[in-house]
Symmetry: C2
Amino acid sequence: MSNILHDEKLETEVFFDNVREKANKAIIEALDSHDIGAAYELINSLHIADLADLLDKLSKDERERLFDLIRDSIDPLLLAEIRNVSIKEDIIKYLGTKKIAELICLLEMDDTVSVLVDLDESLKSSIIFHLDAVKKKELEELLAYPENSVGRIMHKNFVVAPEHWSVGETIDHIRKRGDLPHDFYKIFVIDTKYKPIAFVTLGALMHHPNHKLIKEVMETNLKVISTDLDQEEMSFFFKQYGYVSLPVVSKAGRLVGAVTIDDAVEVIEKEAEEDIMHMGGIHESDIHLNVLDIVTSRFPWLFINLLTASIVALVIKFFEGTIQNIIVLATLMPVVASLGGNAGTQTMTVSVVGLVSKDLTTLNYFRVILRQIFACALNGILMAVIGGIMIYLWNHDLSLSLIFALSIIVNFSLAGLFGSSIPILIHRIGLDPAIASPIFLTTLTDIFGFLTFLGLATLFLL
Amino acid sequence: MSNILHDEKLETEVFFDNVREKANKAIIEALDSHDIGAAYELINSLHIADLADLLDKLSKDERERLFDLIRDSIDPLLLAEIRNVSIKEDIIKYLGTKKIAELICLLEMDDTVSVLVDLDESLKSSIIFHLDAVKKKELEELLAYPENSVGRIMHKNFVVAPEHWSVGETIDHIRKRGDLPHDFYKIFVIDTKYKPIAFVTLGALMHHPNHKLIKEVMETNLKVISTDLDQEEMSFFFKQYGYVSLPVVSKAGRLVGAVTIDDAVEVIEKEAEEDIMHMGGIHESDIHLNVLDIVTSRFPWLFINLLTASIVALVIKFFEGTIQNIIVLATLMPVVASLGGNAGTQTMTVSVVGLVSKDLTTLNYFRVILRQIFACALNGILMAVIGGIMIYLWNHDLSLSLIFALSIIVNFSLAGLFGSSIPILIHRIGLDPAIASPIFLTTLTDIFGFLTFLGLATLFLL
């Protein structure tokens, strides 16, 4: 694995990027020039995760040539690493579901799920049909746990010891086991009912003399999570408390699995990407999708946006007379809307992230909202003064400047209020604040921005 | 630690939230009612990370009462966990820099840095002045590494073995060491020049019989990183290749430290939060800051926004005559701007995340940009048709509908182009695409949106 990286191991950031890119480029060149031998060599030296990424960057033609090369030596892990569903389905069709089922049987359960996830239903059931009985049963068990629950990603191979064992006995036991996970970190101490009650890190175990009892060296501040726990909540534990692994228990409290920090990393990464996507008005990254799938996934949000923009248009419609009389208002309207929208977005971003990271809770809702309103209002005053002066220099109309200034201050204060409280409200009713907040926020700042600006103009300038 | 959580250990997500909140509320009540005993009990049962979070949610009064309680038993780790700088500075002033320096001397280096980071310069140097000589030297060494480099966060206590040792010898060596890190995962195999050449996981070591030599059981596909590597790049390794720990080498290739996946988690979390904040138009989360600091940190972006909005206003100014004649244009302008802006933001979000995750590289720039333009154009056609019909039903003016439709299609295509290529260009010149893209993007979609809409109206409707 990863020899290309290894050879260049002392280089820093930029160079590493180049190494990865260079390796990819060399493979593409070899594929394009039909230099099978060179391509095969290069592909085999790639880390499986890099190979999965490369597939997404090849043309259809190059990809098929690559499939031909790796056909007989395909690493089952590759299937788990490919995130582009259509490429994954291409490989599955190319190799046939029977062969894929054989490969999957070599994978651990979490990787098995990664392969099957998002697949076309008929393809999925055809693969499952070809799985061996053991694997099929394991898969059924796993799918019985709720989606996004810890049960779906936990490992089954963990190491346990009863508290009456000695350190020496435990080490012997570990050393004799053939199926030991190569990267475990803790021994869970269990009671007679297989309930986890404490833990010993492998490092601590090694440190103590053989005659000591587990109960003398174990740490009892063990945190236990349930199979039904949401994965996002699980990853919060790892982030907040710096855990490296956690025991997973059934409803009855029996130890049934373990999750490790690398599982949490995947969840953290996925959740962070989801949040940023939702804030940007899309469901999930569509960089892997084809044009039509991008169009259909983005359409709903744009359509809602068309409707909310129509409401804003109705508000403006109400002031058509005013605008026609004082046409400079039309020029300044986008400034009012843009500034208010951005002030609101700044606040909303802080609130959404605060809710996700639990820095914003019922304990400080009120204080945070108040602080945000004040901060936005103060920035509104600054923008009102600067913008007001700019407008005065441009139009030499003091009342217009004052009306602009006043509406900016009002709009910023409201942006602070809406930006902080909308995510909280959406979170309270159990929805993801990242996905719904932007729609409501910009509609509201637009409506109130135009209402105050055009309303004040109608009152005082006409 | 964390007994409250432990007692409720079998409960799931929602309940856990309640437990944390309940504990916090109980502490606040105890502090408010001056029930010192109860407050002290409750605070001691909190995990240090939760206590740090709680401090940020207390009033100044409650906080001071809490300081009084924990004054003599303060856990030095608490200082490293507090992210709100003004609260951290309050504690430091309360305890005095001499006492703080004593506490810091008990911390590991990465936590020491966490305490000192962001502190007021005079406070920082006063604390450093009181540090003992050893700590001072360690700190100097660490600060010699570039900011955000791996050298700043690596651990120094790792375990090594030469390849000619046997498994038994290695286990004995580990067991005899007093200063063993309790949570290490790998033994690094070094050559005579202290250069890391391979590794053995602790699990694998335990698995093999005593007489085997390290060179027979070690894995040689070792990835090594340099002290100068950027932390973000380091966290990419952990994410991409699923590493649990990595050896860090000096420029000469000598093993000088190690980083583990929990260090990467912190970096991943920080980077993800930074990206989302930058996209939302702020430098970093200001939920912990006071009003004035929020104002000053957000002002620059809003000011730039005022300038870019002024450019947009100038574009509209050019068409004042047209708008005055066809006032309905003023009503529809925000619809054009809003839709184009959102189409662009969707694309931009995908590009920024793609660049960060390296799914978007020179190998597929062109294909991705092209696909995004097509996808946006197609959605533009859909919006043009729906919006055009809505406008026709409202105004019974076919030419207006057609002009709206045409400008939406043009604007969406440009949104696809700008949304995908602006982040790439900014990334190419070495800046963070998340921070600069939104400013350029909305300015451009506004300008081109109004130019096409008002321009076409001037050509065909006047």
